[in-house]
Amino acid sequence: MTDLIHGVYTEGEKIADTKAPKVPVAGMWEKRKMDAALVNPANRRKLSVIIVGTGLAGGAAAATLGEAGYHVKSFCYQDSPRRAHSIAAQGGINAAKNYKEDGDSVYRLFYDTVKGGDYRSRETNVYRLAEVSANIIDQCVAQGVPFAREYGGLLDNRSFGGVQVSRTFYARGQTGQQLLIGAYQALERQVAAGTVEMFTRHEMLELIVEDGRARGIIARDLVTGEIQTHLADAVVLASGGYGNVFFLSTNAMGSNVTANWRAHRKGAYFGNPCYTQIHPTCIPVSGDHQSKLTLMSESLRNDGRIWVPKKREDCEKDPRTIPEADRDYYLERIYPAFGNLVPRDIASRQAKNMCDEGRGVGPMVGDFRRGVYLDFADAIKRLGQKAVEEKYGNLFDMYARITGENPYETPMRIYPAVHYTMGGLWVDYDLQSTIPGLFVTGEANFSDHGANRLGASALMQGLADGYFVLPNTIRDYLAKGPFPKVSEDAPAVVEARTAVEERTKRLLAIKGERSVDSFHKELGNIMWEYCGMERTEAGLLKAIDLIRGLRAEFWRNVKILGSADTLNQSLEKAGRVADFLELGELMCIDALHRAESCGGHFRAESQTEDGEALRHDDQFLYVAAWEFGDGESDPNQPGSTMGAPVLHKEDLVYEAIELKQRSYK
């Protein structure tokens, strides 16, 4: 074994994307589509694809591949594909339509996305994303997605999340819902047509890799507990992000990393796991009982003004009684050009700084008041209450319901919360992971957002991957098939199946003292404290230790009641938390190794004099793709055999865009 770096990881060979054609980005996607092999329509039925997850990326892909005539098996843990968490995205979806004639273009969307990602994304993938963005809007409108319209009947746009053009399409505050319902309906149409087989309340628990190719999954029917084997010619993971490693996040309760992590353990590299986005406009935590955080669209920052009192002693006062002169509109003060529309990471970190200075507002949580004001008084004065209601009505209602306060009268309180994970399984230009036949789309992959994602880009990526990218690239892979039939008792299948059965048995047999949730909360606290908005070497090393200890305790002391052959929500959660306990460690290792600040990853050791993120392009201009390090089976933690991970660097090459230190001043 090679020497451990920082005592926790080793470094391996560099990797590179070999699929992007060697032509300028503008013609690259056309060339790739042209080069990709075709599959005769008559042969498509014989080719099967498993798709895990039914959000925008998975649902759209399942529908599109079904329409093309492939045999698709679609899986989701929810009771219906329509519940996937894409549904909760509020703000909008970007597209380079330039309907406002304000200077937008494919290139500008590409540029903004790369810059927003703090130059840590792969140019080629991002350009393609911008390129297909306009098609997404056409597709969705044709499906009946009710985007906001102007009185003339044409589509409306707004500017969103730190960009200076209006390219965001939206459906009040429910854009994700409307887009997902569009994809869901397209998917159900294919279910009716018989091209897609739908498996709801099924969770993927293992990947089957046979002869070096991903050939299927082991899934548990969450209702009957049955462990099932599903085989196919290719597997697509569209299972979303892993923000729930923090316990409190804006993700859905069931969002998890298990599908990704199981694939990672089987050989898929994990790209940039430490890149986490903290969303600045969430409703603050109200107490220990909190089970999740609620995001409010950052479109609120278009009209709301963010401030805290200048004086600490004003923090407890009714905000309406604090005179203008005693308010600190800190984003407008520090960043006059962008004001309240600075990127998410800056807005989040500044909010934290204000609270750390003791100028936070709202109830005391721990030692701090964790909240800043988001004030609409000016907007209401300028636009009238009706216009504000028209734009943000449902967000205001949501806020009022959760907090019991009326935001039309008193300023809202907001605080940052974990929202999105830019990291994910490493994929090439074709969205194929390091395991042939395993494709990863949407938030589950690492590819498009670099170190930070711009607002209204998650929906864009999910649908771009699902409708337009994957169906074209997977075709090239499937054209080589059908692959030799895998029998249910092939050693790889039996091994995967047995692993799932034994793991389930083992979890139920522990019969310890602590609930799954208590472990999850503790893990979340460790992650938030040491691997959250601000990270340090010492903190991360400590976190790695703490997580290892917690993981060992989990496998010794978790208490799961009930049986494996019925609906058992504790058992489901336990499996997910077990994987989070491994992922958490990898995230800390990644954050530890990346001794620079970039995008959502802020290392306290690497900042400018003004306290801004300081990149080190000379050392870190690469994607960190982590290979799972198989460890010795430890009798003290029989469920986890995690060893030191191996770092593979993919150098980032910027040809179309010039590297710049980001500045929003």
Binding site: T64, C140, R149, Q177, E188, G287, S291, R401, T566
Partner: protein, 258 residues
């Protein structure tokens, strides 16, 4: 009720009567539990989380209930709370907060009851009948890649707004749960109105309604008696007039020999 020391005077002690049912074939029964020191800032489901932690600690299997996004949009949660679908406020169960209750209250919690929503366990029901109604026609047939330019067909704002309002349906099933006939007309009306108001939805408009309503009936939902209980229970406030549109569309389809 067990005496408790409250950590905050605003906190509550409550008696819960909760439906427990081991599986689809079990008869099921209402079981009484006590919870104490419940903060008014908790959501209803967080209160159930607290109870489940207690049960787990006592060695009693936690209560199964559905929830996912917990921000009122995915439609996964849904409980009948003291006779009201999603409880006394106009919202989803996950967005119902305990400040809607008083110290000492007794709260009865039951699953959605409809034969088209069979119970899986405790408070969890199977709503796949909704998916099958959508499969029957709740879509616009447009293959990926075949869409015309998005601004090619302007939509009058009024129609766009009504389509949007109808499209707000989250498919939670509260309309069915509250309906005296366990009818899913509001769910269906919402979809038929959403797609029917848009120019893109016109080609399949009449076939869609016939197909969806037939599937609805086939699933075993009841017929509509226009009581409006659905609309009252709907967390998204989908108005009863979408059912009128559904009826009108079916009548038109019938005239056209559908």
């Amino acid at each position: 009720m067990a005496t408790s020391t409250k950590s905050d005077p605003k906190n509550m002690d409550l008696t819960l009567r909760i439906w427990r049912q081991d599986g689809p074939s079990d008869r099921g029964h209402l079981q009484t539990y006590e919870v104490s020191d419940i903060s008014p800032d908790m959501s209803f489901l967080e209160m159930l989380d607290v109870l489940n932690e207690q049960l787990n600690a006592k060695g009693e299997e936690p209560i199964a209930f559905d929830s996912d996004c917990r921000e009122g949009i995915c439609g996964m949660c849904g409980l009948m709370i003291s006779g009201h679908a999603h409880g006394p406020e106009k919202t989803t169960t996950c967005q119902l907060h305990m400040r809607s209750f008083k110290d000492g209250d007794t709260i009865t919690v039951e699953p959605w009851r409809a034969d088209a929503f069979p119970i899986i366990k405790d408070l969890v029901v199977d709503r796949s009948s909704f998916d099958r109604i959508i499969q029957a026609g709740g879509f616009i047939s447009v293959n990926t890649g075949s869409a015309p330019e998005a601004n090619a067909a302007p939509v009058p704002k009024q129609k766009a707004d009504r389509a949007f309002q109808s499209a707000e349906c989250i498919g939670c099933g509260a309309c069915v749960a509250a309906c005296p006939n366990a009818s899913a007309m509001l769910f269906m009306g919402a979809k038929v109105t959403h797609l029917g108001e848009l120019p893109q939805g016109q080609p399949e408009r009449w076939a869609r309604v016939v197909s969806m309503v037939s599937q609805h009936d086939h699933e075993g939902f009841g017929g509509c008696t226009n009581t409006g209980a659905c609309s009252v229970a709907c967390p998204k406030g989908i108005p009863q007039d979408v059912i009128s549109t559904l009826n009108k569309d079916l009548r038109t389809a019938m005239r056209q020999g559908g």
